[in-house]
């Protein structure tokens, strides 16, 4: 897997040079600006709102990276023909796909690590001047470790979106990949509804199709525990583990699909 590691490192370096991490500055400005503004406008709700905003922004910024970097990962190399000299080297196409994916996951991880740290720093300063009895009335402490569970699930969610983008990128243009990936993302947000389609429709055929779609398309709703975490509702470790298992299976299937397609592809 030396070759995959080389490709992953190259993807990470390219992200750094392409100024992907500039979004972190925007994130920090948004979070600090919002905390100052919200601190003046709300009473006692500011920590909750900052948590909400921080988690939502982390998810949104990560989504932009996952989609817009992800759709170019493979197609850019094919379009620009940089794969020609590359595949004359001792690297398998499967290693290339895995390396590209791992590189973008690494980029997302670094990005999210900084955003997480920024969120905790802002929460720390917000909580610092608040009396202990007021803090005791909050649904959850400001520096709640449960936030990490929500962030971990956001990361897994983004990992699936990245795999979807990479899958489409392995055989179609960046534009089509973006459309397909956004489509899967949107359907995935509401996919859980398809599971219970029988409650609103009588047609057995429609129910069967909806059920099939539910199993084929990703169920992103299960990765969203932001509301629970912000309101101090416990998210069991077993739930996080099961969701991680689901993500691993889904990502594995997408990568296998991408490898099969890409390994048979002619570079004309």
């Amino acid at each position: 897997m030396n070759a995959a590691r080389c490709v992953a490192t190259a993807v990470f370096r390219e992200s750094v040079r392409d100024r992907v991490f500039y979004n972190l500055v925007l994130f920090a400005v948004l979070l600090i600006g919002a905390s100052i503004l919200i601190g003046q406008l709300t009473a006692g709700q500011d920590v909750k709102i900052i948590k909400d905003l921080g988690l939502a922004a982390t998810s949104l910024f990560g989504l932009f990276i996952a989609i817009f970097v992800g759709i170019n990962l493979v197609s850019k190399e094919v379009d620009r023909r940089s794969v020609y000299p590359l595949f004359a080297k001792p690297i398998r196409r499967s290693e290339f796909i895995v390396g590209k994916y791992a590189g973008l996951l690494l980029t997302l991880l670094a990005n999210m690590a900084v955003m997480t740290a920024a969120l905790y720093v802002v929460l720390f300063f917000l909580a610092r001047g608040v009396p202990a009895d007021v803090q005791g009335a909050w649904d959850a402490p400001a520096l709640d470790p449960a936030l990490l569970k929500a962030l971990a699930l956001i990361y897994l969610h983004l990992a699936i979106v990245t795999a979807v983008a990479l899958f489409f990128s392995s055989y179609s243009s960046p534009m089509l990949s973006a459309v397909f990936t956004l489509g899967v993302y949107l359907v995935g947000q509401f996919n859980a509804d398809l599971k219970h389609f029988d409650r609103i429709v009588d047609s057995p055929a429609a129910i069967a199709i909806a059920r099939a779609c539910y199993y084929v398309l990703p169920d992103f709703a299960r990765f969203d525990v932001k509301l629970a975490v912000v309101h101090g509702i416990a998210v069991p470790g077993s739930y996080v583990a099961a969701t991680a298992g689901y993500a691993a299976l889904y990502i594995g299937a997408l990568l296998c699909g991408a490898i099969v397609i890409f390994s048979r592809r002619d570079f004309k």
């Binding site: 000299p85 080297k89 001792p90 002619d266």
Partner: protein, 324 residues
């Protein structure tokens, strides 16, 4: 002895058209053998199938039928790729990287230890005449410089077999001279070189053997000197200050005498016209030699004739039974 490169009945169909894709035969049953240590010229006009053949050998495209081997192993074998180098036509590299960083990346892919990379990368860049520019991003490189980087990455791993697709493309005369010298040096070290070109003079200067491909089919193959088309078909002398009497003496032996600018004449002799003797004779009469060149059929002429011989000049039809 195992061939360095061997193809058997190698064919490639591409499918064209959106609604009802139809097969288009880009390469038709190409069989070639390249012995170790050969400098093999794969010649043909644009669109003849040279790049497709190289792509098949690099497994960038997959054959419709037939097989190909490099160093006795199937072309997809990863172990083989450690022993080959490849320069694509009009190469593109990651333009945010510098030449040094690009070679570092490829060196890592080859699994070269850090000490080897530290030694080989500067040495390879020096060999291709890439100086201080090696620390500049590749997006700032000219076409010729990129071609040099392309050759540098192709020889980085000290390959046994080198594949070069139009290696002289984009190079200035100095660059062409350097690349020719490099190829001859590699040949002297016993490396096998397979290069495609549509320029006959490159092949003449470098190749021990050639294959000519036209419209996807092999038109001729063999040692360059043995190919009938490239035998000398006459001599062209350009002389200045030729006295009229000497010209008249020459007329029965010459195929053609043509007055050009100033007092110069073009004198065309048949293949057995003994040009050395004629030169001596004209020099003795007070003429000055401007140039002497052998007349050969051009590569383009050979293609036109060979293709006509191969049948109507149309691209080879698909064999029966091929997938549609």
């Amino acid at each position: 002895m195992t061939s360095a490169i061997r193809t058997r009945e190698l064919s490639k169909d591409y499918f064209v058209g959106f609604w009802r894709p139809r097969p288009y035969r880009a390469l038709d049953r190409i069989t070639i053998d390249v012995a170790p240590g050969d400098v093999f010229g794969f010649l043909g006009p644009n669109g003849a199938g040279k790049t497709t053949t190289l792509k098949l050998l690099m497994q960038l495209v997959f054959p419709t039928s037939g097989e190909a081997e490099i160093l006795g192993r199937p072309v997809g074998d990863i172990a083989v790729r450690r022993r080959i180098g490849y320069l694509p036509e009009n190469p593109y590299f990651y333009d945010h990287l510098t030449a040094e960083e690009l070679l570092e990346y490829y060196g890592r892919l080859f699994g070269m230890p850090p000490a080897d990379r530290r030694r080989r990368i500067p040495a390879t860049l020096d060999r291709l005449g890439i100086g201080a520019e090696r620390r500049m991003p590749l997006r700032k490189y000219s076409k010729g410089m990129l071609q040099r980087v392309g050759i540098a990455q192709a020889i980085l791993n000290d390959p046994d077999v080198l594949f070069l697709d139009e290696p002289m493309s984009g190079l200035d005369p100095l660059g062409r001279r350097d690349v020719r010298a490099l190829m001859l040096e590699l040949r002297d070290q016993g490396r096998t070189i397979f290069f495609s070109s549509h320029i006959l003079s490159d092949a003449e200067a470098l190749c021990s053997r050639v294959a000519i491909v036209a419209k996807g089919r092999l038109a001729a193959a063999g040692a360059l000197a043995e190919l009938r088309e490239f035998a000398v078909q006459g001599w062209e002398l350009v002389m200045a200050g030729v006295p009229p009497a000497a010209l008249e003496r020459l007329r029965p032996r010459a195929r053609r005498i043509l007055a050009i600018a100033g007092d110069r004449y073009v004198i065309e002799l048949p293949p057995d016209g003994r040009p050395e003797e004629t030169l001596r004779e004209l020099a003795a009469a007070g003429a000055t030699t401007v140039s002497l060149n052998p007349l050969r059929e051009t590569l383009e002429d050979v293609f036109v004739r060979r293709v006509a011989e191969m049948g109507e000049g149309a691209r080879a039809p698909r064999p029966e039974g091929a997938a549609s």
